[in-house]
């Protein structure tokens, strides 16, 4: 049956209305003209409530992540690509190859369609670039004031090859700790985009899909024990999680940890610690010391790991302390951040 004519979505002037989530024609049109058009693939095209996926030969890995960010667009990315990268990375740091994503949108009434279109395009581009398919999704609309523009939850499924066993509880005393690049870019880019810094900043978010980097690494260092992407809470929280899960201590070398000059300067001014800042495209690797050089070379051979470095090692410590040997030769404890990273007063 040929559908009756309906006016196409006004992507220039239009805004999200409650009807876009009401299950009627407006919603069908939004899904068809925006989401399906951008994510276009055989699974979505089936038009069913879920996606029937082909058999796969390996263990499945599944991860989910809700994405909320203010502002929706920031230097180096937007909530769309962030939602794709974030979940791909959660699957990738399990050692798995990400295959499929599901995406669920909570839209705020009044959100300009132009912005939504840009976000959805960014998701489509990020997913295609990563070779991952967005196979199913959902859209809800809430009244103005009940959300912050758009919230996106993505769920990812990936396949884990036999022989790869990475997990936060696997670190052993003597293992090497590696980091794929400089810390804190995303955190400072977001603060700058919120115009909260009081100064201009050229820092771009590091948002990126890490599965290619992980694949490179695992080929070179298959005995890798732990992979993590230090997002919220920064490297400090991630390393403390690993230390606690593995019942070990970790010692870091401050001089080996890369921080861009702009990020370091912003941290100095605001009293923030780069180790506490969020990253969206960095990888922390813990592997046996004898594979450390191979792992380092593999990371550096990938565009996302050019600035990778060996930053420390795992030690036996039943108190599970993460310590930093400072540039001056002193040391301090790297603790979890107590709350949101708040600037010091003076």
């Amino acid at each position: 049956m040929t559908p009756l004519y309906s006016r196409p979505l006004d992507l220039e002037q239009g805004r999200i209305e409650l009807s876009h989530g009401a299950g009627g024609r407006a919603m069908a049109q939004l899904v068809a003209e925006l989401f399906a058009a951008e994510f276009d693939n055989e699974f979505l095209a089936q038009g069913d409530d879920g996606a029937r996926l082909p058999r796969c030969d390996g263990r499945l890995v599944m991860a989910t992540d809700a994405h909320v960010v203010t502002p929706l667009f920031f230097p180096g990315g937007d909530i769309g690509c962030l939602a794709v990268h974030g979940t791909i990375n959660d699957v990738a740091v399990m050692g798995a190859e990400p295959l499929y994503l599901a995406a669920s949108f909570v839209l705020e009434e009044g959100l300009p369609l132009r912005e939504l279109a840009a976000i959805v395009r960014s998701m489509g581009t990020a997913a295609r670039a990563a070779g991952v398919t967005i196979v199913t999704g959902d859209t809800k609309v809430v009244e103005r004031g009940k959300a912050d523009g758009v919230f996106i939850t993505t769920t990812g499924v990936g396949m884990l090859r036999d022989g790869i066993e990475v997990g936060g509880a696997n670190a052993r005393a003597g293992d090497a700790v590696l980091l794929s690049g400089p810390l804190g870019d995303h955190g400072i880019a977001i603060l700058a985009a919120r115009h909260q810094l009081g100064f201009e900043s050229s820092v771009q978010s590091d948002t990126a899909a890490l599965h290619g980097l992980v694949a490179n690494l695992l080929r070179a260092a298959p005995a890798t024990r732990v992979l993590r992407d230090p997002t919220r809470g920064g490297a400090a929280a991630t390393l403390n999680e690993i230390a606690r899960q593995s019942r070990v201590g970790i010692v870091l070398d401050e001089a080996a940890i890369a921080v861009r000059t702009e990020v370091a300067a912003a941290c100095e001014l605001l009293g923030l610690d780069p180790l506490d800042l969020a990253n969206e495209g960095r990888l922390i690797v813990i592997c046996p010391a004898q594979q450390a050089q191979a792992a380092l070379a593999a990371l550096r051979a990938h565009p996302l790991g050019r600035e990778a470095a060996l930053i420390g090692e795992v030690i036996a410590d039943e108190r599970c302390f993460v310590q930093l040997r400072t540039r001056l030769g002193g040391r301090r404890l790297i603790d979890w951040l107590a709350a949101e990273a708040l600037p010091r007063i003076c």
């Binding site: 410590d317 301090r332 010091r344 007063i345």
Partner: protein
Amino acid sequence: MKYVDEFRDAALARALAAQIAREVDPARRYRLMEFCGGHTHAISRHGLADLLPPEIELIHGPGCPVCVLPIGRIDQALRLALEHDVVLCSYGDTLRVPASQRLTLLGAKAHGADVRMVYSPLDALRLARQMPERQVVFLAIGFETTTPPTAVALLQAEALGLENFSVLCNHVLTPAAMHAILADASAATLDGFIGPAHVSTVIGSAAYEPFAREHGKPVVIAGFEPLDLLQAILLLVRQLNAGRTEVENQFTRAVAAAGNRKALDCMARVFELRADFEWRGLGTLAVSALRLRPAYARFDAEQRFDLPYQPVPDHKACECAAILRGEKRPEQCRIFGTGCTPEHPVGSCMVSSEGACAAHYRHGRARQAVIHPITPA
């Protein structure tokens, strides 16, 4: 990073530390108080204590702005936010200080109060201009470092004729706190002071002369970088070895003897001395804090909203008071690290990273930890 890396040079730091070790008299101890929370933070952040010989003992002083704010003052801000429906603005750390019933301003925000973190009082002023229908209150805290910006915001509010901006003023004075510490019997064991960095850029090095002259304690004003601190410690060791008690200025790149005239003038136009003010840890001290002059009374939140001050005793087990006076170390408090942690602070010293307890919790415990050399990359 230019102008920072130079003051963090590892080789120079080691050389300075070695010089200190050579010059200390092994027969005595050097109990030095770093007054300023910024110094406390820098010492733990760079692990400086590990570089120093055992004869040097660093004592954390009361110069952490949020630490010295008593519960009653935060209660005033909470009342404003919860009962007067104002937009309450303050600096980040202030929002996490527990007051009565352990409620914080961030907690009040979760209960629906309009509490906003700002980086500067000028941000609060901007909010007042953007929201003419709302009363915007800036909870002003801190020593002489944060006072001039508050003064500037008030001068601007006056120039703009703003009717909806006011300040809950809790600015306090560094020399008053140092006097209080030296008046205490336990001060006899203190050998000298590492003088504040940013505070001294405002009030000048001459402000410390009475401490050297009348109390016989050397003061060396130091910048916030590791080399600044190490050099200041070396200067203090030399003074003490020679029996001198002088004010020396290590931070000459920023601190002048007379301070910053312009900043002092701004402060004097807007503020006057309070007869007395309650400090956490130090008790009620005469002429130790500032309030708005009568000409600026309309910008004074205490008057605009009728907020009488009610003192509230600290939590019984909390040792913040003794720690702020330099009498106890954080680990000597029996709730340190158990009942009181950075996630659930009981006392104010556990809130800010400049607070002695938070600094020790976050950075200091490692000193007792095992450590092995790192394999070079």
